[in-house]
């Protein structure tokens, strides 16, 4: 029995003994379906007929004109449910069913992963319970309603900081107690092995499609790909198929009120190696190793950890990690809505904000793909409230 599931020195399985059996079982089942054509046919069918894949790679003529480079959006906002999260929940729910699990639990921040889990629960006939920080339940009330409408039970989490981190804690506690019949459907490339690997594989469909689409439209690969990073699943999903190509990959973290203020979620830019939620990666922590409270305008990025593969990619210098602060994100939210008629999720608006801030680095003919990981309808009420308006 050796330590497995490493990305360089990061990753691993730092969980209480009670969960080890389930993680080993999950790893074995996942490697088994890797070679199972029936599983992959079923997943491909659901992706096409239910989720609406492939999603378009949209050329943004107006934004390109304003920013001075060729901007494409990978339209994960058009996936059923409104974000890339369904790519992963479809894969994991099919796997859970395959393993004979009877119940799905999930954590959610912005509610997008919770919604995507509620969707697969309804579609595949599995009961779903979603842990969501009390603060996020308020910020994302619309998504709470959507989950409940689809039959999921939403459990508000009142421990700790009452946001995504604490929702993961509660989901882990539930899993420890119900590990025999329950699958914990983790929503990002975080957590103990095999989650970071498995979620990456399910999300890599984004990058595979984008690569084929950009070749068809432009006859070449892009110069840069930009994606927001909270846990990092949409970013890993679009980066992975390009990882060995000669182009720039940029992950944009939540700068919040500014990294210097301490009120941010910029784990890779401002954190140090540490262990949280079963994995060794970068972590926002104090000198003793206590996990620090985070801040972001977007509930989905409001997380003190990050996927271990991102930690490795940072150390290797393969991906550039940067930040976008709350005001820049709000500007990007308005900009994309106004110029293209596409309202981005506040999470995805971080990637758009980075392009706006760094447009000067690119020439007119440079191709930049932004992963538009989700649509912003869920954020409209909260943004209106911040502007002192009702929506």
């Amino acid at each position: 029995m050796e330590a497995r599931g490493r990305f360089g020195k990061y990753g691993g399985r730092y969980v209480p003994e009670t969960l080890m059996g389930a993680l080993i079982e999950l790893e074995e089942a996942y490697f088994r379906v890797g070679n199972d054509p029936v599983f992959h046919r079923r997943l491909a069918e659901l992706q096409a007929e239910y989720a609406g894949r492939p999603t378009p790679l949209t050329f943004c003529a107006n934004a390109s004109e304003e920013l001075g480079c060729r901007i494409y959006l990978k339209r994960e906002d058009l996936v059923h449910g409104g974000s890339h999260k369904l790519n992963n929940t479809l894969g994991q729910a099919l796997l859970a069913q395959h393993m004979g699990k009877k119940r799905l639990i999930a954590e959610t921040g912005a509610g997008q992963h919770g919604v995507a889990t509620a969707i697969v629960g309804a579609a595949l006939g599995m009961p779903v319970e979603v842990y969501m920080g009390e603060v996020d339940c308020r910020r994302q009330a619309l998504n709470v309603f959507r989950m409940e409408l689809m039959g999921a039970k939403v459990i508000p989490v009142r421990s700790g900081t009452r946001t995504l981190k604490d929702a993961v804690n509660e989901a882990l506690r539930d899993w420890v107690a119900n590990v025999r019949d329950t699958h914990y459907l983790i929503g990002s490339v975080i957590g103990p092995h095999p989650f970071p690997l498995m979620v990456r594989d399910f999300q890599s469909v984004i990058g595979r499609e984008a690569k084929e689409q950009v070749r068809k439209k432009e006859g070449r690969l892009p110069d840069a790909i930009v994606a927001c990073v909270g846990g990092g699943s949409n970013a890993i999903g679009i980066f992975t198929p390009f990882i060995n190509d000669d182009l720039e990959l940029i992950g944009v973290e939540a700068g919040g009120k500014g990294v210097v203020t301490g009120e941010h979620s910029a784990t890779l830019c401002a954190g140090e190696p540490g262990v949280l939620h079963g994995t060794l990666s970068y972590l926002l922590q104090d000198a003793d190793g206590q996990v620090l409270p985070t801040h972001s305008i977007s509930a989905g990025l409001d997380y003190p950890g990050v996927g271990p593969e991102h930690a490795m990619l940072k150390d290797a210098g393969r991906v550039t990690y940067a930040t976008a602060n709350d005001p820049e994100v709000l500007e990007a939210f308005s900009f994309l809505s106004r110029t293209e008629g596409i309202i981005p999720a506040l999470e995805s608006a971080h990637a758009v904000a980075w392009v706006m801030q760094n447009a000067g680095r690119f020439d007119r003919n440079d191709i930049v793909i932004v992963n538009l990981s989700g649509r912003g309808d869920k954020d409209v009420a909260e943004v209106a409230r911040m502007q002192g308006r009702e929506a």
Binding site: M1, E2, A3, R4, G12, R13, Y14, V15, P16, E17, T18, L19, M20, G21, A22, S159, G160, K165, D166, N169, L172, R173, V176, A177, N178, V179, R180, P273, G274, V275, L276, H277, G278, L280, L283, Q285, A287, D288, G289, Q290, V291
Partner: protein, 262 residues
Amino acid sequence: MSRISGVFAGRKTPAFIGFTVAGDPDKETSLRAAKALIDGGTDILEFGVPFSDPVADGPVIQRADERAIAAGTNPAVVFDLVRQVRGFSDVPVVLLTYYNLVFRRGTDRFYREAAEAGIDGILVADLPYEESDEVAGIAARHGIDPIFLIAPTTTDERIRAIASRARGYLYLVSVLGVTGVRESVDTEAIELLRRVRRHTSLPLAPGFGISTPQHVQTFAEAGADAVIVGSAIVRIVEQYRNEPEVMEEELRSYVRQMKRTG
């Protein structure tokens, strides 16, 4: 023989292992709680090192962790508390911690400082066998017993592997779930005890959910070498944290009552 092994040598009745969160609600009161537990007859004292994200713990210990952290408890404070305990007692002290606190301090430094403070064993709640190779080596170098968890979901193959690396005692998670007080002893806990016994001669100490003399009786009859009580103790500390004299008396009488059985 280590101090922990000494507790189990020639025992007829289960040892009582009492857990409290170090620094809950503050350093001074926590020391008084530890002393009361020892005065009541606690055979091994387990000190929880408070962590911001204790995923193996239920609400009672989570709240204690929050109180302790708010009072400024960090590993250095915990080591200092143990030094103070050593001023009046030779009872073995075991730390229960989460891995990030060890990793952040540097594993070697953490174990060295723990040994210097007089700590006998360390259990890292989120460090399973597969990740524990380096830590077990460092523990051995500093003369600290690495304590491991075994759960109802642990296979026989894993039990053998874990038992070969563990020292001191094995902590049997007697229910699936987090720490916290429960009504009765699950039959699964007894089955686990019997199953583990087939693979090792290490002392076996069930924990999680144990709070009454009846629970102790059940485990004694099933052949447990010790019982571990946490949340029930932490609840007493929580309830009487503003009346330390009452807290001390309640803790002493609770331990005595739990030890009369078995």
